[in-house]
Symmetry: C2
Subunit: 141 residues, 2 copies
């Protein structure tokens, strides 16, 4: 449904406000729609947001590579996007996704596999994939 003429057309009621980001990048959180687990956080620019909507699969912007990052493009561990939510300031994005395989390049379901306990980070999860087997190349994601 397109907004009608009587409804406000403020930019932040239509899209995230990428101008609020650092270098036009906003944090995008991926949450598993089935397990509710927070899987990862990455960055999106307007182009990544558009491609996510157009394809139905999570696309981020890789700051290290300086280009769009189609999550799972190499590993096959894609994220089918079921819902896109935006926070009150329209500067953080929450994706509810169906995750194929491990979200983390380390082979864990979630990138948040370490917990701070008594002054150090401890691994609290078990791998669901062999990180060496995920990628045919040396590419991280």
């Amino acid at each position: 449904m397109k907004p009608s003429a009587s409804e406000p057309l403020l930019a932040d009621t239509l899209r995230p406000d990428f101008s609020r980001g650092v270098q036009d990048l906003l944090p995008a959180i991926a949450q598993d729609i089935n397990t509710q687990q927070v899987l990862m956080m990455a960055w999106m620019n307007s182009e990544a947001f558009n491609e996510t909507i157009a394809t139905g699969f999570a696309t981020y912007y890789s700051r290290s590579r300086g280009k769009l990052w189609r999550k799972g493009e190499e590993s096959g561990h894609r994220q089918r996007v079921q819902a896109i939510r935006v926070d009150c300031d329209a500067d953080t994005i929450l994706l509810l996704v169906e995750q194929t395989g491990a979200a983390c390049h380390e082979g864990y379901a979630s990138c948040f596999f370490r917990e701070y306990r008594q002054g150090r980070l401890e691994v609290i999860d078990t791998r669901i994939a062999d990180p060496n087997a995920i990628y045919s190349s040396k590419s991280k994601h």
Copy 2:
């Protein structure tokens, strides 16, 4: 348990790596440990992280105010931290919290109360608090 002499003491096995942040700030995601709802995303520096651990309540760094932000200090809507997780790159923090009241200053349980649907953002949640009643002052948080 303190790490033993035989264990590696890499910086990123002990704490988040704040040097990887923009101006030493890392994204910190708060998730409700009971409902599993993603509540909000804010920023932490090393000092905010330390205070969160010391007090057991989420403390962020407010970029707009340029100082520590003890979440719920004015509204009473505090976040008791039950677990702190860190991602594979040690540059994003996930807090599992017990949230008192609404996490969002708009009176919603979560700041992610709008969903992108057919080209616009629609409110998909209902308020659990009157935003005008949350704060006695004009302060946002």
